[in-house]
Amino acid sequence: MASYSDPETSDETLARAAQQGEVRALETLLDRHQSKVLRILGFLGVPAQDCEDVAQEVFVRVFRHLKGFRTGQSFGAWIYRVTVNAAHDYRTRKGRRAAGETGWQDGLESAPDERPGPAESARERELREALGQALETLTERERSVFVLRELEGLETAEVARSLGISAITVRRHLFRARRRLRTILADLEKRNPLSVERIVPDGSSHG
């Protein structure tokens, strides 16, 4: 008999057990994926104070439709898709638009206590805030792709599976997202320089 708390037990095995009503399997799935869901919701612009409510929606949807989970499907890809859709639904309900509304950085104020030194922390905070502002200017799809690929570290194929699009489309959205973000961060840096090395023609660098 499979041990539902064993880290080696796959998500798919747990999902099949949960389909049969095995509550311990449900609990393990919840434990495994809760941080990821909360994190992604934050990256996708759900404010910290609402992340938990939206995460509840995600898991209730996932567990409600568990009977439709088929052998061979990727549970991880499925939960990513439900999370992205839930964030989109949230933003649609709240009527948020791309520019000027940041709840994203609020979510990062609850970062864990592993601290780099104060100087680095301030710079990292600047960078995170800058990225948060820049992400708000992307389309929903570009943002989802960038978050899953760059911030969550998923492979292109897995991003494609999660979002139900082709790998080519993932790469196209990613290209556009990166280009836009680079431009915005460069502009932000000009207006409010971050501590970034600049390369000057003689090859030396200045902090």
Binding site: L26, E52, V60, P112, E114, A186
Partner: protein, 162 residues
């Protein structure tokens, strides 16, 4: 190197570099937050009550995937067999061509004749002589039934139905 090109290269390099650092900083310091105990309980309770609302099936659903395939495959066969059965059945109600069924009754001083031969239109002649029928006295019938008053003067009356 031209100055304009330098700045363009420098800007895109700086932007790319800044993006890379921002992504690294975000990934490194991103939260491993967990749901509160209340939220967790709500989710698990919702999942349990969904499971409870769906009682175990006493009889297997007809619509499990294998059965769906079986039914889908069998339907054309069932329809074909049904059609064959219907086509081979004799036509109901109507008598065979050339045969006639008559129902005759007498009531309240009248004679009732019901004619069934597959047609509802007839001409009925009346005579006291079975070999002689006056065509001018024929009565058209359109509903398959004929009513005639009883002739007190005759003991025997003959009817011809065309």
């Amino acid at each position: 190197m031209k100055i304009g090109q330098f700045f363009k290269t420098s800007d895109s390099s700086a932007g790319r570099d800044t993006l890379r650092r921002a992504v690294r900083a975000t990934r490194r310091t991103s939260s491993d937050a967990v749901l509160s105990a209340t939220a967790r309980d709500r989710i698990l309770n919702a999942a349990r009550s969904q499971a409870a609302d769906q009682p175990a099936e006493l009889f297997p659903s007809l619509f499990t995937a294998p059965r769906r395939l079986l039914v889908a495959g069998a339907l054309p066969l069932i329809l074909a067999v049904g059609l064959l059965v219907l086509l081979n059945q004799p036509a109901p109600v109507a008598p065979e061509p050339g045969s006639t069924t008559l129902q005759v009754s007498k009531e309240d001083g009248q004679v009732f004749i019901r004619i069934a031969n597959g047609s509802r239109n007839h001409v009925v002649y009346r005579s006291t002589d079975p070999d002689r029928f006056d065509r001018s006295t024929g009565v058209k019938v359109t509903d398959g039934s004929f009513t005639d008053a009883i002739d007190d003067q005759a003991s025997l009356v003959f009817y011809r139905i065309d």
